[in-house]
């Protein structure tokens, strides 16, 4: 598990998942979804929630991009990769390859 998680290259074949200590939660008091980790709270919009829920370490970035494109009109090429890259940079997501 550890040997793969440090690979930070986010390409279309990468299989992302939330880092172990990060939790997606519906914040009932504010009516929004948030990603929780010890020192940060990241508020997500609907597309963000959909991406996070699709990141299960089996689907690739390409799979998720295509799934998202079929659900929403406003999803642009590279949106998923950018979202995942930003979260990997914040140590909120980890990547498996192969």
């Amino acid at each position: 598990m550890r040997s793969t998680r440090r690979m930070e290259i986010v390409d279309d074949a990468a299989r992302p998942r939330l880092a172990r200590h990060v939790r997606l939660k519906f914040d009932a008091a504010r009516g929004q979804y948030a990603l929780l980790s010890p020192e940060s709270i990241l508020v997500l919009n609907d597309t963000g929630v959909a991406i996070v829920e699709l990141c299960n370490s089996r689907r690739t970035i390409a799979d998720i991009q295509s799934e998202l494109g079929s659900r929403y009109d406003h999803v642009a090429d590279g949106d998923v990769r950018r979202f995942v890259t930003a979260l990997v940079g914040k140590h909120g997501m980890e990547i498996d390859h192969g």
């Binding site: 440090r6 200590h21 939790r23 939660k25 008091a29 504010r30 929780l36 010890p38 709270i41 140590h91």
Partner: protein, 376 residues
């Protein structure tokens, strides 16, 4: 008014360590009448209703509470993210497994230095070896490993070796935060505040380590605010994002506000007397420095008043006796000379790097709070 995101739950001030940089209040004995298990469970329930998403379980040493597993389970049951901040003492294999099963999300382990002698000397008790075992246990049970190292004059020169130690432990994250001068640390400030030269070396070491380790370990480094031009945005603003409940139920907008709150002589904010909802929204203590109406100049007319919120109220109180003054750390503060004088002292080349520190005592716990089966 915003809803609070995070709760710092200081469960007990009992602690087997004696770290002189501790930010717990000097009057530790005043907080021995600890909340019961049921009272904390109610606090977590009310906090969740109020919008709290994260609880940091700290102290003192939170593992001194025999009901720690029940408390984690309760917070987790209310959907709150749980983070345990521990010295590692009391983190046995059995307890760790129970905590994991109770849903504990994250563990932060403190360590005082990279060398056994120095670490044990700062902690005031033999704990270095045990802490190493605890870090292995944390990883073995599947938590990521975050190390906390409080930096000061007596360990900051070891920063390279401390980072290397963390890398060998395969830590995911290390927090290297310079001491905040509250409570016991305030008493020990003269022997804790590093020199400018020490800080410059430390910053260079952090940059080099980040380049060397890349993504393998996240390195968080916090400079002492005494050396910054502007104050820290303390708590992201008074009673704006988070609050603290201390062992006896008193509720504070900042973990260092014990003396400040007593000095203001306002109505109680103890959870034994009031709901968290009232404390957060209505209590005079929480309203006191919310927003910027309370601000004196230079803050009132400053462009940065929404960036740093006038700095730290507790630091203003500790240094000037008036919690409503601009944080003296700010170079625009009329009281900035107080901070400059401390910095001059820290840079006096005749001042030793290993001066005598006052250890933080262990107030222990009141016997009646310890369940019968453990008392024997």
């Amino acid at each position: 008014m915003d809803k609070p995101y995070a709760l710092l739950a200081e469960l007990t001030y009992a602690c087997p360590l004696h770290c002189p940089y501790c930010s717990n209040p000097v009057a530790l004995d005043d907080y021995r009448d600890e909340l019961t298990t049921e009272e904390w469970q109610r606090v977590f329930a009310e906090a969740a209703d109020l919008g709290v998403l994260q609880v940091h379980l700290s102290g003192g040493e939170p593992l001194q509470r025999h009901d720690i597993v029940d408390l984690v389970q309760a917070a987790n049951g209310f959907g709150i993210y749980t983070n345990l901040i521990t010295s590692g003492l009391g983190f046995s294999t059995r307890r760790a497994e129970q905590l994991r099963d109770a849903g504990l999300d994250h563990v932060q382990v403190s360590i005082q230095a990279d060398q056994r002698d120095l670490s044990d000397q700062i902690a005031g008790t033999a704990s270095f070896e045990r802490k190493h075992e605890v870090t292995r246990l944390v990883k073995k049970l599947g938590w990521p490993l975050t190390l906390n190292v409080v930096l000061h004059r007596q360990n900051i020169d070891r920063i390279d070796a401390i980072i290397d130690m963390a890398a060998v432990m395969e830590a995911d994250r290390i927090e290297l935060a310079n001491t905040q001068y509250a409570g016991w640390a305030g008493r020990n400030r003269a022997e804790l505040l590093p020199s400018r030269e020490q800080l410059e070396r430390a910053e260079a070491a952090v940059l080099a380590a980040r380049a060397r380790l890349g993504d393998r370990m996240e390195i968080i480094y916090v400079i002492p605010d005494y050396y910054s031009r502007y104050p820290k945005p303390c708590m992201d603003g008074w009673a704006r994002r988070q609050f603290t409940v201390v062992p006896n139920g008193e509720t504070l907008p900042c973990p260092a506000a014990h003396e400040l709150a007593r000095g203001l002589n306002l109505p109680s904010t103890n959870v034994r007397e009031h709901s968290l909802e009232w404390i957060w929204s209505e209590s005079p203590l929480f309203k006191q420095f919310r927003g910027h109406e309370w601000m004196p100049d230079p803050c009132r007319s400053c462009d940065r008043r929404e960036i740093d919120f006038g700095g730290c109220r507790c630091q203003a109180f500790a240094l000037t006796g008036d919690a409503a003054r601009t944080d003296p750390v700010c170079h625009l503060s009329p009281d900035h000379g107080l901070v400059e004088a401390a910095v001059v002292d820290a840079n006096d080349t005749t001042r030793p790097r290993d001066g005598v520190l006052i250890p933080r005592p262990n107030p222990g716990r009141i016997r009646s709070q310890i369940p019968l089966e453990v008392r024997r």
